[in-house]
């Protein structure tokens, strides 16, 4: 299905793009076109392949197959320079501004204007050239303001001004409004209209479907790395987009709990974290239940977990653990209270990846394996061997480094670290990311076994199949707030996604 004006050739075409990583296909045979002055809305769940596709267009990663056509030029792959030279500008989701420079310096970085005689920086010239750009994006700050003094939203506007300054033909905006206020979002919509009027195309990626409804001329939905469908201007509606984004067959993963859940083990009231300082979240977890914590990237799930665990400051709210008020200022306090976190990034924060398997298992509880203050190698080994049997860690030699294990076995080592202590509540942040299918099933069974042993389990997951298949109850976060809670009877991809993106 091709949309747009047939008479004019597309400004940009991605043809049959595929991208495979070892063991994972991120994109498979994706094609799309963008015409002059058109806004293409790109939608899809977390992990659907939107960001991968845009990184290919930005020249940051290479496609495994397919080609990119920009105007008359055909590229099997792009590098960053070629992409920029072809007029593709990126407004990054994670901001790449330099906060040690001022606004004008950021806009012209790498393309500085020079004074004619000495070839030095033409500071006044750049300031003057930056002014109209800033005005076009509705910024209320001047070109000589240090970026250090700008808020996140203002930095976002700066990124857009920078895109305008390179005479972009296609501007890619990846979640541009995630840190903008309502009025700033309205300004952005006006900026997009201006760009359209100038014949510039915009690829607009957002989870906020109402924004896509407001500005897109054409929508492409991705699902699991495939084009799930396209919508022409008149068909772009909230429901239609959600229908394209979901619609997978969900495998039966669920094992019911052995007994009904017990008392509330962890209770959060009015929690605010630095990620969403103005939002408040309330949440209860019972002993013996697996609570799925769903939401989009950036909804504040990880930050919430880290705040409870004492890694980030808790800006507001109270935490009650097993009936007693609890406030962890350091992870040590949380660990001593029996509250553990299995972090998202196994290699960086979950494990000391270059240390031995048995040392990793003993790391959080060294006093228990020490005699007279000296760590006992033998005790470490005994402890690790016991956990290996319980969890089925596939490692012949527990003194080898953890980096040699597969993802699934690494995750079991992280688990073993906590299980050898006395858990009351464990938070799992994306427990099966980068884990193969067989090990996933084992980890799910371990979660259930933990819950059946009376431990409260919170599972943060962006994998819809996992959230729906494993949880006893789902709480959905949106922008730092609890958007809703679902019981098993109410579970569906649609119900979770509706809460996650905000139904209207």
């Amino acid at each position: 299905m091709t949309l747009g004006t047939p008479s004019s050739p597309p400004l940009l075409a991605l043809e049959n793009i595929s991208k495979a990583y070892p063991g994972v296909v991120a994109l498979s045979d994706v094609s799309l076109t963008v015409h002059r002055g058109e806004v293409l809305g790109l939608v899809g769940e977390n992990g659907a392949g939107k960001s991968t596709l845009m990184k290919i267009l930005g020249g940051v990663i290479e496609p495994s197959a397919g080609r990119i056509v920009i105007g008359n030029a055909i590229y099997p792959r792009l590098n960053v320079m070629e992409s920029q030279a072809a007029g593709i500008a990126f407004v990054h989701q994670e901001l790449n501004v330099f906060d040690n420079l001022d606004v004008a310096a950021n806009i012209f970085l790498g393309r500085e204007q020079r004074s004619p005689r000495l070839g030095l920086l033409d500071l006044a010239g750049m300031r003057d050239a930056a002014l109209p750009l800033l005005r076009r994006v509705g910024a209320h700050f001047g070109p000589d303001v240090p970026v250090l003094d700008l808020s996140l939203a203002e930095r976002q506007l700066l990124e857009i001004a920078k895109a305008l300054s390179i005479d972009a033909r296609v501007v890619i905006m990846d979640e541009p409004t995630s840190s903008l206020t309502l009025s700033e979002t309205r300004t952005l919509m006006q900026v997009i209209a201006d760009l359209k009027a100038q014949g510039i195309a915009v690829i607009y990626i957002s989870h906020r479907l109402s924004e896509i409804e407001a500005c897109a001329d054409h929508v492409v939905a991705l699902r699991d790395g495939l084009v799930a469908g396209e919508l022409a201007r008149q068909d772009i509606r909230h429901d239609a987009m959600i229908r394209l984004m979901i619609g997978r067959d969900l495998k039966a993963l669920y094992t019911p709990p052995a007994a009904p859940p017990g008392d509330v083990i962890l209770s959060l009231v009015g929690i605010a974290t630095p990620a969403w300082p103005q939002a408040r979240a309330d949440l209860d977890v019972r002993a013996g239940e697996i609570l799925g914590l769903a939401g989009l990237m950036g909804a504040g799930r990880t930050e919430l977990a880290e705040a409870i665990f004492g890694i980030r400051p808790l800006l507001a709210g109270t935490v009650t653990l097993a009936g007693a008020p609890f406030h962890a200022h350091t992870p040590r306090q949380a660990i001593d209270a029996g509250l553990y976190l299995v972090p998202e990034d196994r290699k960086r924060t979950g494990l000391v990846i270059e240390a031995a398997i048995d040392e990793n298992i003993a790391l959080a509880d060294l006093p228990a394996v020490a005699r007279h203050g000296l760590v006992s190698r033998g005790e470490i080994g005994r402890r690790a061997a016991m956990q290996r049997g319980k969890l089925g860690i596939k490692a012949a030699d527990l003194t080898r480094v953890a980096a040699e294990l597969s993802g699934g076995n690494q995750q079991k080592v992280v688990l073993a670290k906590w299980l050898s202590m006395r858990p009351r509540l464990i938070i799992f942040d994306e427990p099966t990311r980068g884990v193969d299918v067989g090990a996933k099933a084992e980890i799910y069974l371990l979660l259930r076994a933990l819950a059946d042993a009376g431990v409260g389990v919170i599972m943060i997951s962006s994998d819809m199949e996992e959230v729906i298949g494993v949880s006893d109850r789902i709480v959905v976060l949106r922008e730092g707030r609890v958007a809703g809670a679902l019981d098993r009877a109410e579970f569906s991809e649609q119900s979770v996604l509706r809460l996650a993106v905000g139904a209207n």
Binding site: Q84, N96, N100, G110, E112, S151, T181, L182, P274, P277
Partner: protein
């Protein structure tokens, strides 16, 4: 002048006033002249170190380089009778090659700056000692090089020419760092090398040039030091000078993470360090406490600066939390 530099300047004046009140010799022409000379000598290579620290790197080889290049320069002029302008060019040329080697090892072979320049520290010192057989390199008795001496240890209006040299180098470096495209790219590379590369900046080239600038300025300083001491004792000449330079840069507002700092800052850092040395001498504090005083002041200075930044960040967060007026 940034606020940070202003604060440092005020501190220098306050310390100076206190020292003067305790010992009026502080402002005597002789003391001022000697201090200015030391500020000039140390300033020359501290400015160079600033360029390297700006990239988030470090150059630990500076002190050894001053010894080795000093030995080479003195030997060329004193023993082999090489005309001094040629010797100056050769010395700076060797320095350039050293900086180029550091830069290439760091950017091409992705070695860590600390390791590369630590090896430089050991190698250059060892070569200097081995080459001279531990003997002091000096000029022949009674030898005189009027133009060279005028340029290096001469004085005009009582002000040592090393100080003028430092001012000239400082002015050129100020333009390079704060007004040239290269300088702007240095700031960007120091803050976020990856993002700088994506902005089309040739980060490897920028970083390598920083090490070359550092080495060239160190070579110039080596000549000034050799002329000042008249002889170079290869095992002690220039010892710990890299630490003086790093300390001056840090005092002057540079961050060892890169991307922060200014030329005026590092010069003021040098001035403060020399003023502290002077304070120790003039106030009758045992000179063995020299390092302790310097360390304490640097610690206090950096701590104060960090607290100020934290306050600024907190204020910014406060501002972001306030609801924005919707038009």
């Amino acid at each position: 002048m940034q606020k940070k530099d202003m604060g440092l300047a005020v501190l220098i004046i306050i310390v100076g006033a206190i020292v003067y009140l305790r010992n009026p010799l502080f402002l005597s022409p002789i003391n001022l002249g000697n201090t200015a000379n030391l500020i000039g000598l140390f300033g020359l290579f501290a400015i160079g170190q600033g360029f390297v620290i700006m990239t988030g790197g470090i150059d630990l080889s500076v002190g050894s380089m001053i010894a080795l290049l000093g030995v080479i320069f003195v030997d060329m002029v004193g023993r082999f009778g090489v005309p001094w302008p040629v010797a100056v060019l050769v010395t700076i040329g060797i320095g350039t090659l050293m900086g180029l080697a550091h830069g290439m090892l760091i950017t091409r072979l992705r070695m860590q700056p600390f390791v590369v320049t630590l090896c430089g520290l050991l190698i250059y010192r060892g070569v200097a000692r081995g080459y001279t057989g531990e003997a002091t390199a000096g000029f022949p008795f009674g030898a005189s090089y009027p133009e060279l001496e005028w340029l290096t240890i001469g004085r005009s209006f009582g002000v040592p020419h090393s100080f003028f040299a430092m001012l000239l180098v400082g002015a050129i470096c100020w333009v390079v760092l704060h007004r040239s495209v290269f300088g702007r790219h240095l700031y960007a590379v120091g803050k976020n090398e990856e993002a700088a590369r994506y902005s089309g900046i040739r980060t490897g080239l920028v970083i390598t040039l920083a090490y070359v600038i550092c080495a060239v300025l160190t070579a110039i300083a080596a000549i000034y030091f050799a002329m000042f001491t008249r002889s170079v004792q290869p095992s002690s000449h220039g010892n710990f000078y890299e630490l003086y330079a790093i300390a001056a840069a840090v005092l002057g507002g540079f961050s060892l993470r890169g991307g922060e700092g200014s030329i005026i800052g590092v010069i003021l850092g040098v001035v403060l360090l020399q003023e502290l040395q002077n304070l120790v001498n003039l106030l009758g504090i045992p000179s063995s406490l020299n390092f302790a005083v310097m360390g304490a002041v640097i610690l206090a200075g950096v701590l104060a600066d960090q607290q100020f930044n934290r306050y600024r960040a907190a204020r910014r967060a406060q501002r972001a939390m306030e609801p924005k007026p919707e038009p």
